[in-house]
Symmetry: C2
């Protein structure tokens, strides 16, 4: 569990602010917990790398340096393929114009699969497979809960038509893929377990429709951080995907999928002023550093633009980023709080826990990695873009 440069940690006040901190021990513990849970359920784990976008983090999360892994952009696929990851699924419905880039990544040796949910996309993939001689592997996206894309799990005709078009056209039908995105809006453990079970049933139903039509369906892939965390039985599922759990965030804490004390990601900020009559402390982390994500605004406990902690990562009682401008964060006590505003002079550093790790991470190009002593042991680059 040692950081990459044990003993060489630099103090936080050597960092320019705002910047992104990653607690390596919390990251490793979050990964170990998810892995143990999924191993117990008898399924493979395919971490989603869209949150971290970092090869160093991926190597901690993946079960092998070659994967499996899930990506949300072809830029991620290219970056992780260059870093040795071989087994990837590009988890956004394929635009046919992207086939050339997918082919180039596959030609480099990575087994990159794609997803789609229409016969027209299947035809484009089949035409590509025939023209290139590469039997591109495809998972049919199935709609777990009405959240966004995917064929309805009971729409046997469309599932079979897509599968048939792929197989007859020379592509490879690898299976079905679902994402229970609506689970992010839940909080009750029983409801979350029910969402996980509904995702499983939808997956097994869709896989059954393909198999009954004589089509292959070796992979049955489900996942989201909440349903991965609350699944009790995954019979018929072959793999689970999750990403945000690695870092955790306030939205997932509101869901109950992570504990606040397990959140591994924070933004380091410096106090730059006060409006004492209003009870405001102004810091140099605004929405550019924190992201515009206000996911907790829809939850029972609204955490503003983030929960404010001391430099050791301990939350100050009731202190939030109450508002944010581009490069200004306004710290204030939660409305109605009886707490005292901490004494934080100009130049003091604070750490801010994010609403949404995917969104906050994307505002930065590197992680400053904390060792067990809360010092900066390494800098890990991360990518953005498409």
């Amino acid at each position: 569990m040692a950081g990459p440069s044990p003993g060489a940690g630099m103090p936080l006040d050597t960092l320019p602010t705002p910047c992104l901190l990653l607690d390596e021990a919390r990251l490793r513990a979050n990964v170990a917990r998810m892995r143990a849970h999924l191993t117990g359920l008898g399924v493979a784990f395919r971490p989603h790398l869209k949150t971290a976008k970092s090869l160093e983090v991926a190597r901690i999360a993946m079960t092998s340096p070659e994967g499996p892994a899930m990506v949300s952009t072809l830029r991620e696929a290219e970056y992780f393929a260059a870093g040795g990851v071989r087994d990837m699924i590009y988890g956004v419905g394929l635009a046919p114009a992207k086939l050339a880039r997918v082919a180039a990544i596959r030609a480099g040796g990575a087994d990159l699969a794609v997803i789609l949910d229409s016969v027209e996309q299947a035809e484009a993939v089949a035409a590509h497979a025939r023209a290139s001689g590469d039997a591109l592997p495809v998972l049919i996206e199935v709609d777990a809960d009405g959240h966004r894309s995917g064929v309805a799990p009971g729409d046997r005709d469309t599932l079979v038509a897509i599968g048939r078009r792929l197989v007859d056209g020379g592509a490879s039908l690898r299976g079905v893929l679902l994402h229970a995105g609506d689970s992010y809006s839940l909080r009750d453990p029983a409801a979350l377990a029910a969402a996980a079970e509904a995702e499983r049933v939808a997956a097994v139903t869709a896989a059954g429709a393909l198999r009954e039509a004589g089509l292959p369906c070796p992979v049955v892939s489900v996942g989201s951080t909440p349903t991965a965390r609350f699944a009790r039985d995954l019979a018929g599922v072959t793999e689970v995907r999750a990403g945000v759990f690695m870092f955790g965030d306030l939205v997932q804490a509101g869901v109950g999928a992570v504990a606040v004390e397990d959140i591994a990601l924070s933004v380091l900020a410096t106090v730059i002023g006060h409006q004492r009559a209003k009870g405001w402390i102004v810091v140099d982390a605004g929405w550019m550093a924190l992201s515009r994500d206000r996911g907790t605004a829809k939850q029972p406990v609204d955490q503003g633009y983030g929960v404010v902690c001391d430099r050791a990562g301990r939350p100050y009682r009731d202190l939030l980023v109450a508002d944010a401008n581009q490069e200004h964060g306004i710290l204030a006590l939660r409305p109605g709080s009886a707490a005292d505003l901490p004494d934080l002079p100009v130049g003091a550093q604070v750490r801010i826990l994010p609403n949404h790790a995917c969104a906050t991470g994307a505002q930065h190009d590197r992680y400053h990695v904390l060792d067990g002593a809360g010092r900066v042991a390494a800098t890990w680059p991360r990518i953005n873009g498409w």
Copy 2:
């Protein structure tokens, strides 16, 4: 008005999506309009480069290749200084730990000024000035409207104490700076004109306090896109700052500070699927490409995550990005609309006008610049980070 590579434009379908488009003619027209307005009011124009973060855009916006200009991060200051900009203000209250970086930028030949609003910061700057022999120029931040930082304009004691500490300590007191950020929440032209006048009065009051105490105040700097646009008289003001007006966005259109047809920035996206029973079209631009900014949610006309246009930039009637996941945008008609959903098959491209140009731009690392024929004439890099 010709693009940088006239006649060499590439069609939009050669671009990987999602990506950022910039209509150069609209940008130039927005700049010309603001310049003419401010020239008519007899004040200098200091464009804020925090929206564009691009040297090519800065050179169009600035009155000379050397500036003046405003920046929101020291990363911007370094980047623009390397590109030849000489007259800059770093417009976020100074954390004393940043003085070394400010000094390095100044040592490279750029006249970079800083802002602050407390005696403790003034003491840190004075100590730096004495130690370095560089009379660092400082503007005192004054609070125009209770929006965030700044000394109250009527708080003569604090203003004079800060000014005295700077001057006596060897720094250079350059003036006062205000930002009427609350103007973003207005819509009525008379209220906007009143906000601009209130910003002017606050600036002149604070400048007067310094001058009456025998302190210098050569620069009286105000600005925000709405107050710049609606100011009718700027007597006593020496310069105006504004940034987002260059590109425009839906929030500024809701304020009335720009017209929707003048918005120069859009995100190009590709259709990747449909949920026909729900009236949804799914595209490959989610909140990662659009940003999480939902600024129009607080305005009378909520534009979702953006207004959807055809490839020529003409809005489809009532078609919005109704919801967004990380890499998925869900297009749907405005609630209650009588319009027909346009026929947009998988692979079709659309353009999405952003809520907030600063936030959407920050999700990207380049502009694909459109010429008058709507073709891609150039690629301009942009920076992010701190």
